[in-house]
């Protein structure tokens, strides 16, 4: 029985009718064994997303704890889109999370200074075959945890390198996880009977998510990627940041002035685009936001593959902006931090991560003015949701171990007296477990409820991102 099950796994393919038969027969056999095991089997049988075969596999391996798993398959043309998503996310950071859920398979990436977040969610319909399950711990407290799979971009990017040749040669692709060995197996079934298998080790790490409510943004633009691509040509690779200035009459994409760059040697470029070039143009407030160029390019790479228009959602400077593509089969979101506006605009803002470090003191000073608005907004956010709206992993509130993935590294980057205060608070938060701590954590980041106004937080631009996230548990994803 066990051997047969193993063989089935190797060749892949559902063979569902067979399995139905198998399961029944195995049920009969398995039940005879340890009582615990059969109970676990039944439990799992009711679990959403489980198939008999997977249950069998788990039993076959005789683990008390059943690992979370993912198994999906796609056709040749989908491989290209999948690969483009990975390439786009590689612009955000060097690490990629594979996060399966019933909504689909999400690929997530957060950059090291937490100023950019990318997530591409492929719906189950995108795949020819899509199976996933969470793990259930058979200990006293049944904790459910998803597949926490973090891959290095260096390992996975070369696999999807030559997408054009992949598109030509690959007939189908299967991706599945082997949690016992902490590996993700990617198999390409190519023409002429060639099968390529890649084994990529993954780290167990809970994905980070960003909660961002696109519909509350006062400005929304929808534009064909071609137009943005033409704008991108204007800027050189040395240009770190791009400014998007909008009025109800036109939109201007321009290179942003940085103090660090020698003004007398860099070219300043601007492009004005009229409203009728946009598929959707809604400007609620005239604003100018500055964000990193690299991630915009990453998003454009991906949009080339999907041919869908790009939506840009944004508000005032400092509040993160979202670049998203909504398709029937997938949804891509890139949330980028924007440079916070300072009261003294005369001093040119510096590059995203650094400026937040240097202008820290300014932000604190301006805090008293802006503090009120922020406080009320942040309070609003907190009251609406129990979960911290930070970039912190918060798959389940009870999983406090998630906190250790939270931003100490970026905080540590921050030097200067002001920076140290939040950092130590974070560490304090990490030591204590339990939901009250979580609240303290989120409060500190929003500088809202707590008395010490830690508004001058490096991720404040992201932290003040609003509500319902784009993920399974809470948000409203109208597409799927």
């Amino acid at each position: 029985m066990k051997n047969e099950v193993r063989r089935r796994l190797l060749y892949g393919g559902p063979h569902r009718p067979f399995y139905a038969v198998k399961r029944n027969s195995s049920l009969g056999k398995r039940r005879g064994r340890g009582g615990v095991k059969s109970r676990s089997f039944e439990k799992r049988g009711q679990h959403p997303g489980t198939r008999g075969r997977q249950a069998e596999a788990r039993l076959a391996t005789r683990l008390v704890r059943a690992p979370a798993m993912l198994k999906c398959g796609m056709g040749g043309s989908q491989v290209k889109v999948f690969g483009k998503a990975i390439q786009a996310l590689s612009r955000v950071s060097d690490e990629l999370w594979l996060d399966p859920s019933e909504k689909g398979l999400a690929l997530r990436s957060v950059n090291s200074c937490r100023s950019a977040y990318g997530c591409v969610l492929f719906s189950p319909v995108f795949f020819q075959q899509y199976q996933w399950s969470t793990s259930v711990k058979m200990n006293d407290n049944d904790t459910i945890s998803n597949l926490n799979c973090k891959l290095g971009m260096k390992s996975i990017l070369p696999i999807f390198k030559c997408l054009n040749s992949l598109e030509r040669n690959v007939e189908s692709c299967k991706i599945f996880t082997r949690s016992d060995k902490c590996k993700v197996v990617i198999q390409f079934f190519c023409r002429h009977g060639i099968k390529r298998t890649h084994n990529v080790c993954f780290q167990e790490s809970q994905p980070l998510q960003v909660i961002f409510e696109k519909s509350t943004c006062s400005n929304t633009l929808m534009i064909q990627p071609r137009v943005l691509a033409e704008a991108i040509v204007l800027f050189t690779s040395s240009q770190e940041e791009v400014t998007l200035a909008v009025t109800p009459f036109n939109v201007c994409i321009k290179s942003s002035n940085e103090e660090s760059m020698d003004l007398t040697s860099s070219v300043h470029s601007e492009m004005f685009v009229g409203p009728d070039e946009f598929d959707f143009f809604q400007i609620g407030v005239d604003t100018e936001i500055t964000f990193c160029f690299k991630e915009l390019k990453g998003m454009l790479i991906f949009s080339e593959a999907t041919h869908a228009p790009i939506s840009i959602h944004f508000d005032f400077p400092g509040k993160p902006m979202a670049l998203s593509i909504d398709d029937m089969l997938l949804e891509a979101n890139f949330i980028l931090a924007t440079l916070a506006d300072e009261p003294s605009r005369a001093s040119s803002p510096q590059s995203l991560c650094l400026s937040q470090k240097r202008k820290r003191s300014d932000l604190i000073r301006s805090n008293s003015k802006a503090g009120k608005n922020v406080t009320s907004k942040a309070l609003e956010h907190i009251s609406r949701k129990a979960a911290p709206k930070r970039l912190c992993p918060n798959e389940t509130l009870t999983d406090i171990s998630a906190l250790e993935n939270c931003g100490s590294p970026p905080l540590k980057r921050v030097s200067g007296d002001v920076g140290e205060v939040p950092a130590s608070s974070v560490r304090r938060a990490e030591e204590v477990l339990g939901s009250p701590c979580l609240r303290k954590f989120s409060c500190m980041f929003f500088g809202a409820v707590s008395s010490d106004q830690h508004f001058s937080h490096p991720f404040d631009s992201l932290a003040t991102a609003s509500d319902s996230e784009e993920d399974v548990n809470y948000g409203s994803f109208s597409t799927f």
Binding site: E230, V233, L263, S265, V267, H268, S269, E270, M271, F272
Partner: protein, 280 residues
Amino acid sequence: MKFRAKIVDAACLNHFTRVSNMIAKLAKICTLRISPDKLNFILSDKLASGGVSMWCELEQENFFSEFQMEGISAANNEIYLELTSENLSRALKTAQNARALKIKLTNKHYPCLTVSIELLSVSSSSRIVTHDIPVKVIPRRLWKDLQEPTVPDSDVSIYLPVLKTMKSVVEKMKNISNHLIIEANLNGELNLKIETELVCVTTHFKDLGNPPLASENASQARNPEQMAEVHIDIRKLLQFLAGQQANPTKAVCNIVNNKIVHFDLLHEDVSLQYFIPALS
């Protein structure tokens, strides 16, 4: 000081873009000289360029539909600007399908050459792209170093072979040695030689033809078989050849024995002169 110019013709715009690309490949930082009827891109033979100098001239009438300039003073009606040539070529690159291109000298906190491009777009509203290229205005006292170089009395003057062929030959030679000997005679023969301890490589070009010589004394005295040669740095020659994207209308090479090699090219209506000195 004032300068405004406008290009509306697509062909002129493409040609100007090509010239700008060529200049960008030949010189990182160059001088733009604006005079009432000409535009010049100048690289003077300072140590920074390794003794190489360049003089590129184009008639403004052939490119611009509108051209207005006012120099420093009535007596010196010229403007000399120093700029990074790549900035200009990159700005012009975005003008692929432009309806109109305007260049003007502006002062936005610091002197700039503002390139303003009106792009054709699918919808009715046109897109406007602006590039502010920072420039440095060169004071009049330095103008004397930036005058048109005198063409030396050459020992041999010869037409060049197809530049692409020459470039591929020189490219391969570069891997062997940095020291190239270019020699030619009045019989239409040109040789490119490199010599190392282990190997000597020579490429012979024949039947190239020689332009008619200006001074008759020199031509009579010289034996047509006799080669005039110059030892030059191969990388400088390669940089020159790499900058030529299209085959020029006319390409002449003048060699002054052991002194300097002078390339005189004509790309349609743009003349380019490039001087490579001998290795000391």
